[in-house]
Each structure stands twice: as C-alpha cells, then as structure tokens.
Amino acid sequence: MDFMMNVILSSVRMATPLIFLALAELYSQRAGLVHIGLEGLAAIGSLTGFLVSLITGSPLLGVAAGAAVGILVNMIYAYATINLCAEQIVYGMAINIFAPALAAFIYRVYFGAGSELVQVGLMNSLASMLGVTPTSFIGKLFLEQTPMVYLAYALVIFTAIYFNKTKSGLNFKAVGEYPKAAATLGINVVGVKYVACVICGALAGMGGAYLTTCYTTTYTDGNVAGRGFIALAAVIFGRWSAGGVLLACLFFGFCDALQIRLQVSSFGVPYQFFQMIPYIATVVVLAVIGMKKAGPKGVGKPYLREER
C-alpha cells in the first residue's frame, strides 16, 4: 500500500508539466492549429524560467518570463501558419529545432564556458508556506505541492468550463471545426487563432519553466525529454476534452513513476522492461481509444479567407 501511495505522489509531480503542455496543445488544436513544436517552446521556457529565477531570485517571475518567451517564440509559428498559411507540421518542427538550440546558445553565452553546476532556488510548496509538515498520504498529496500544481488543475477546470459552458468557448471551438461557417457568423477567425497561439505559447512556456523553477534546481539541455510529444499524445487520448487530457497526463505520469519505483524495488529483472512500460501503455491505449474522429475537423488546414 505504501508503494502505491508513493507512486501516486510521484505521478502527480511528474504529470504537472505534461498538464501544462497538453492544455497548450488543446487550446491550439481547438482553434485548428496542430502544434508539434511544444518541445521547443518548453525548452526555451525552461531556460528563461531558470535564468530569470536565478537573476531575480523569484521563481514566480521566472514562470512569468517563461510564459512571455513562449508567447514570443510561438508568434513566429502563428504568423507563418495563420497569415502565410504555411504547413503547420513543418513550422512546428522548425520551432522544435530552433528553440532548444536558442536555449542552449543563450545558456552558453550567459554562463560562458564555465563548468560549475549552477543551482537555483525552487518555489516553496504550500506546506512550507503554511508552515506545516504533513505526514499523512492525503496531507502530502494536497499540501506538499508547489502553487504551479494547483494552477495546473485550476486551469483544467477553467478550460472545461470555458469550452463547454461559455459562448466565447463555443466560438473558439467553431473556429477549429469549420472556420468558414464561423466567419459568416462574424467571429474574427484570424483573431481567435492568434489568441489560441498566445495561450499555447504561454502555457507551454509555463510548463517548461515549471521544470526549472519547481522541479529540479539545475538546467540541462534536453531536460524537457520528450514531454512535448507525450503531451500531443495526451490530447488525442483525452479526446480533446480538458478532463480527458487531465486523465491522460496523470496516466502517463503514473506509468513513468511506476517504472522508476519498480526499477528500484525489484531485483534481477532487466531494467529495460520497466523503461518500456510508459511507451507500451501509450501504444495500447492509443490503439484502443485513440480515434481521431473526436477531434476538431478543421485542424491542420490553413484558413484562406478568399477561398470558397
């Protein structure tokens, strides 16, 4: 039972960056823009969060800066795909190549060729802010998390309400489904797509910044470690709904945490079997429930106003 409780605590920690990235992708796809460049946005967000947190001493400012930089970089993608109607997958890949390289470059320029391990202070958890040390499982689960974790879950709830219960959310979804019909109703399609890109950039940047302001004290190249792509899979798993996306991210986090704990506590079994678990689970679940029919129909197609 102890083992399971520790795995659940681990999976909540490991799922949070995925939730941010998956929500970013959800907003983007709901507006008809498939964004495979989350990895790059998270990388530059993570570096910015690290640097700003180091310079100003405030992890919160680091997160805000990460979001801002994510928006900036995503504007390149936005302009290319919305105004110039370029291929979304290609530009997403371009961001994936450009942004991590830029992050590595900035890191090298700022710290020089020096090789000392630079560590930064992390955000305080709610428990330490309240001055308590929870010992029970429920206490640890709900109190020993940084504010970003609570923000992630709040965003999920907000997203679910926004898309399903508000008029603005419905308009947003319409832009992703069939932009021409949305345009005839007077919805500013291009405007909504830009807003989607801003939200996507902000959330992806925050997801990356979470890694260096709330999780690890150091920045290394490649610390995003494929989470951008897992987030993409999570959106498909979750059938493009906020609640589904949350469950998918928790599932991935669970598999990853399980893999690590199993490696530690079992003897003699080749570790490669455990490392396979998250990916095999992904393949199985995608095969079983990953039908693309649930997604926005207009995703991936450029919006050309003059077309009939």
């Binding site: 520790n6 681990s10 090789s115 000392e116 391990l117 690890t216 150091t218 690590i260 530690v264």
Partner: protein, 350 residues
C-alpha cells in the same frame, strides 16, 4: 530568372547545411590559451573533447572538461569541446574535429568506443584517447592510434563502498547508474562488495539496492525520483555514475534532509572533489583525469601515442579521495583511511 534564383538559394542552403554538421551540436568553442607552443617545431597542438552530457552537469562532464583544460594549460595546447551530443551524433562530431586538424580527440566514456574506433580507422594520423575504454579497445584499432585511459572501476567502487559501509546506519545503500556500461557495472560491484566487507568488520550487514539505470546522463528529474524511491526503501548513502542524474538525486536528498531536520542521508560524489556543492556530500572519489589526458598529450608530442591502456589506480595516484566533510566523525574518518591504505598496498578484503 526566378528559377535561377531559386536554384542559387537551394545551392546556398545545401552548402551551409554541409558546413554545419549534424544534429544538436554546438559550434566548437575554442579557448585559445596556448601559453607556449609545445614542440620544438613551434606547432600549437589542439585537443577536442566530445561529451554527451553537459560540461556544467555538476559531475562527469564538468570533471572531464576541467581535466582537459588543466592538462592543456600545463602543456600549452588549444582546446575545443562539443557537449550535450546525441548518441547518433558521436561519430559525426569526432569526424568534424578530425577534419579541422585537431591532434588529439578526447572521448570521456565507454559509450564512445564504437564511434572512436570507426573514426580512428579513417584518420590514422590523429590520436584518440578513450577514457574508460576497455583493455581490448586499443588492439582493435587497426592504425594503432587509440589509447584507453582506464581508471580502475573496481577500486573506484571500493573507495566509495568502504565509506558507505562505515557511514550507513540503516544498512541499506544505493547506486544510481547512467547507462549500462561495463565500467559502471564494475563500479557497482566494487561498491557493493567493499560496503559489505567493511560493514561486516563493523558488525553490520550492509545491503546494496539493485542498480538502477536512468538511461540518460542529463535527466536530473529522473535522479530526483530515483533518490526518493531509494530513500523510501531505506537507503541512506548514495553513490552514482550518472552525471546530471546524480545532481538531481542530491537535490532530493538535500530536500529530505531539510524536511527531517538533520543530515541523515549522505552522498558520495565522483569523479571530482565536489565537497560543498550540496549539503549531503560527505566525500568524493576523485579521478585525476587531467593527469591521464596530460600523459596522452605528452605521448602525442613525442610521437609515442597509441595502442596501449593507461591505467589509473590508487597505487599510481590517478585515483584518490577528496576532502571529507565534517559530517563524518573522526573515528570513522580514521578507520576509512586505514581501509584506503589497505587498498593501496593490496591487502583490502584479503
């Protein structure tokens, strides 16, 4: 006209792609600090290092980079490096440096063996120093231009294991591995047997948790999770061979110590003296990589490089122990020194 223009642009793009090389590599950052050119001919020798982890990872990459810089300063060589390289790009990076006319390529790890052997065959005039290369590797190089620099993995494990066996109070210790390399396995076995032996001398039955692999030298978040899981299993002394993953583990250990109010869980660092970097570090196993690199540089200048294995042991001073923290009580430090002396004169565990 438009077609011609497009063709010219395509040509320019193809040429620039060819010039840039592959993947996620950084442009070689040359720190031209040649104090005096080494050989009588006035030639400035150049050494390049490739590394799959970052040179600021707080562990392996950092130590190897510093070793190269120190040796280069002593011998008056120029240096360059490429770090955070993907496995698929090892060979391409080595070849880029070979094409640029570097005299010595320094590859700090067993994982570069295949790439080094392949490049060595194509560039017979360039020297390749493979840290942690196997004893059989130099003989596999047809041109005889590969040397293995082999710090004794078992002794490294002993150095850490003896202290772990003395310091552990829960009788459970842990080891975090990066990739499944022979040298990592050797270090783990040495760690396990030394801790068990020393523990037995103290009347304790010290158990080492099964080795875990992060399969990455840069995923510090995995280090955090591994350390937490291992601490839940009762481990109170950690050692590792995983660069930035070890840094993540130390972060988790520091957090756990802070939460419990006192430093109860310890970490032994490697391969450079890292005392003071994290609160939990009680000691470091130090490998004088710069000495090994320096020997390679000397051999290149004298023209005697290649085809051999240069060992690093406690006996020849390449392996040593770093500063011991105040967290280690004096009696334990003295006993530890006793065991180290036994290792040096060959009577340990006999």
């Amino acid at each position: 006209m438009k077609k011609l223009f497009a063709l010219l642009l395509t040509l320019a793009m193809v040429l620039s792609l060819a010039a840039c090389g592959g993947g996620k590599t950084e442009a070689p950052a040359s720190t031209g600090d040649s104090k005096e050119p080494a050989a009588e001919s006035g030639k400035t020798y150049k050494v390049a290092m490739i590394c799959d982890s970052s040179i600021s990872d707080g562990g392996w990459g950092m130590a190897c980079y510093n070793a190269m810089i120190a040796a280069a300063e002593k011998y008056g060589w120029e240096t360059a490096y490429s770090d955070s390289i993907d496995q698929s790009a090892y060979y391409d990076n080595i070849v880029s440096y070979c094409d640029l006319g570097y005299d010595l390529i320094y590859a700090p790890g067993n994982q570069y063996t295949d790439a080094v052997l392949q490049a060595a065959e194509e560039y017979p005039d360039i020297a390749f120093a493979l840290l942690n290369g196997a004893e059989s590797t130099p003989s596999k190089a047809a041109n005889g231009n590969v040397t293995s620099l082999l710090p004794d993995a078992t002794q490294i494990g002993w150095i850490a294991g003896a202290l772990a066996g003395l310091m552990t109070e829960s009788n459970t210790i842990a080891f975090i591995g990066g990739m499944e390399l022979d040298t990592t396995k050797g270090k783990y076995e040495g760690y396990k047997e030394a801790a068990a032996y020393v523990g037995a001398q103290e009347g304790k039955e010290v158990k080492t948790l099964d080795i875990v692999y992060s399969n990455s030298f840069s995923a510090s978040d995995k280090g955090i999770e591994f350390a937490k899981a291992m601490m839940d299993q009762g481990a109170d002394v950690f050692f590792g061979d995983a660069s930035a993953v070890d840094s993540g583990a130390r972060q988790a250990i520091d957090e756990a110590n802070a939460a419990s109010g006192s430093v109860k869980v310890y970490d032994i660092a490697q391969p450079s003296d890292s005392l003071g970097q994290n609160e939990c570090i009680i000691c470091s196993q130090v490998t004088d990589n710069s000495g090994l690199v320096g020997l390679s540089m000397e051999a290149v200048e004298n023209g005697t490089f290649g085809g051999e294995t240069i060992y690093g042991t406690l006996q020849n001073g390449v392996l040593s122990v770093g500063a011991i923290s105040d967290l280690v009580p004096t009696e334990i430090a003295e006993k530890y020194q006793g065991y180290l002396d036994q290792m040096t004169d060959g009577s340990f565990m006999k």
